[in-house]
Amino acid sequence: MEKFTLAKALNAGLRKAMEADPKVLIMGEDVGKLGGVFRITDGLQKDFGEDRVIDSPLAESGIIGTAVGMAIRGYRPVCEIQFDGFVYPAYDQIVSQIAKFHFRTEGRVKMPIVIRIPFGGGIGAVEHHSESPEAQFAHTPGLKVVACSNPVDGYWMIQQAIAHDDPVIFLEPKRQYHADKAKVDLDATPDPLFASRVVRAGADATLISYGPMVKTCLAAAEVSAAEGRTLEVIDLRTLSPLDMAPVYESVRRTGRAVVAHEAHLNLGMGAELAARITEHCFYSLEAPVLRAAGFDTPYPPARIEEHWLPDLDRVLDTIDRTFSY
């Protein structure tokens, strides 16, 4: 079985999707000869040609807006936004155009568009290169939002998102791109795209996360186990829709829930998760749902980002707090 980094797994998944359907196109800045700044589209233009792997002018709204037109014509564009902080020039095309097209046309026009966004921090980048905009898109009706956390999911989820008939914001944890390798069984039957997954079983508290924070949460569970607490870790994978059944099942058993994400605390995914858990698991809760998150400031300069990001210690501290009730 071949071992892949997340970057290689995404690349292989994109290749597979392009082989499977000639209507699949890749669009973005530097996605052609360069293979993207993170090399996720490496080699694809060489094999599929310039008509299918399209180096676009440097204009994000232009990329997404022309993808809308291609989707109307029957294509399935996969757009790369180079960095999270550069998605905002395309915001209208995403939230007012793509998200509403199926609705406004009463289902006559589909928008099978995937918007890939490398997201999150921890790579020592300059400003606008480390952000976590997921809540802005999860808040928008008409969009589906997913985040992969590991190479196996990267390989399968990108193919599933491309094959899906609704628009998908596909978040890739950029600090994981080249971090770890994992064996990817290319013949496996993958989990459904819009399903969360328990990635570590436990009995004392439920730790809920997605994208780059899943690794941190698994480390937190490891440390807690040494301290005699077993934590159940859930990788949400899908942020809109949320797949809450495994979360409810877990929290009803553990009575405690902690949500961890890099995105700002205020009105982040943790707020919605806390509201839903409180409504559905009220009589099982031993403590309020707590959150370990980025602060409500703009993303800081890189030399202090390790303090700003919820790291292993902050997650462990939040777990300690949930046991103080």
């Binding site: 002018p57 232009g62 291609m70 020039p89 095309q93 589909k110 809109s240 829709p241």
Partner: protein, 394 residues
């Protein structure tokens, strides 16, 4: 350096580069580059009579809708009064396979594409958000965010290229795309980005700008210091200005621009020089920002009147024809009035149904909860009815 002697507003007559084939007085004139060629199988007289009918019916759709708004039957209407020639000229130059991306004011083009005007009324009544089938008419849904559709048109045209539907020489296959927008939209980033994408990929799209001189209350001088059509050159494709109140010239110019696109020779920009005779929409009050004098001057350039004069003087249409068109317009008016009032309100649970191609379980749950909440009232009046009842008492 400013050049106060040169401004778009001073070119009341459209300036020296204006392409015109029928003067405001109804005189046919020739142009060295553009000539009016009727479609295959039609005489010139038949075609011009057809344009006249199209414009009269389009104006009737517009005036009926305006009246329906005044009677409270529509929430809003965006009037096209004065822009009939631009829209019919552009609409009639299309082939069936061409695809149109409209703004929210393209009622005349919608009519040319066979969209029932009642569907337009439904949108402005608040019954739906555009319920015609874009694929059945090759006419997209109305776009209200200014200029956003220009990128959609360009992307669609890039799709057309990838389908090999340009430059084949087959008149039933080669496809052009039209992006409609107004003078105000030319300030939008999306419009400028669409020019760049279209130029970069040689996309088969015609950018058709109806310069009606006004973006709600802001005159064209606020958007540009040079005539709009001259901007095209800076993007690397041809641009020209046509008399947008001259249906023959608009038709001739659009035929050429569309052919250019279909032949795979890339995008072009057509500025239809016209005037918004009415308000921006029914909520607008143009007396606050423009002189009635200007409006009076543009009345002399009316797009329909000049065709009527031409048809009469040349003996191309008799009173019977004009009476028949008038009767047809009256019939249309009745149908629209009655049809509009009969449009049913949608089911309150209907918004859930088309958010996604594949509905999410959580949305289904929300819909079902709402439906059961709604049905919990049974025959009891809800508080909404109660409030209306109380308000009515005062």
């Amino acid at each position: 350096m400013s050049s106060p002697e040169f401004g778009p507003h001073l070119e009341y007559d459209g300036g020296p580069d204006l392409v015109q084939l029928l003067t405001p007085e109804g005189e046919r004139v020739e142009h060295p580059e553009f000539s009016f060629t009727p479609p295959d199988g039609q005489t010139e007289a038949e075609t011009v009579r057809g344009f006249y009918r199209d414009m009269v019916l389009t104006r009737r759709i517009d005036s009926e809708a305006t009246a329906l708004q005044r009677h409270g039957e529509l929430g809003l209407w965006a009037q096209l009064l004065g822009q009939e020639a631009a829209q019919i000229g552009a609409g009639r130059a299309l082939r069936p396979q061409d695809f149109v991306f409209p703004t929210y004011r393209e009622h005349g083009v919608a009519y040319c594409r066979g969209v029932d005007p009642l569907r337009l009324l439904a949108l402005f009544r608040g019954v739906d958000q555009g319920s015609w089938d874009p694929y059945a008419h090759n006419f997209g849904i109305y776009t209200i965010v200014i200029g956003a559709q220009c990128l959609h048109a360009t992307g669609y045209a890039m799709g057309v290229q990838r389908d090999g539907a340009v430059g084949t020489g087959d008149p039933n296959r080669d496809t052009a795309v039209v992006a409609h927008f107004g003078d105000g939209a030319t300030s939008q980033g999306d419009v400028n980005e669409s020019f760049i994408f279209a130029a970069s990929y040689d996309a088969p799209v015609v950018f058709f700008c109806q310069n009606n001189q006004w973006a709600i209350s802001e005159p064209i001088e606020r958007q540009t210091r040079i005539p709009l059509y001259q901007r095209a050159l800076g993007f690397g494709f041809p641009g020209l200005r046509v008399d947008g109140n001259d249906v023959l010239a608009t038709y001739a110019v659009m035929q050429k621009a569309l052919d250019r696109a279909r032949e795979g020779r890339g995008p072009s920009f057509v500025e239809a020089y016209t005037y918004r005779m009415g308000a921006h929409t029914t909520t607008d009050d143009p007396t606050r920002y423009r002189l009635s004098n200007d409006v009076e001057r543009w009345k002399l350039r009316d797009p329909i009147e000049r065709v009527r004069v031409y048809l009469r003087r040349q003996g191309l249409a008799g009173q019977d024809f004009f009476d028949a068109v008038q009767a047809e317009a009256d019939e249309l008016g009745v149908r629209l009035r009655e049809g509009c009032k009969a449009l049913p309100d949608p089911d309150p649970t209907s918004p859930f149904n088309n958010v996604f191609a594949e509905m999410t379980p959580e949305l289904r749950e929300q819909r079902d909860e709402f439906a059961s909440y709604m049905s919990s009232f049974g025959d009891e009046p809800s508080h909404t009815d109660y409030n209306e009842h109380v308000a009515g008492a005062f």
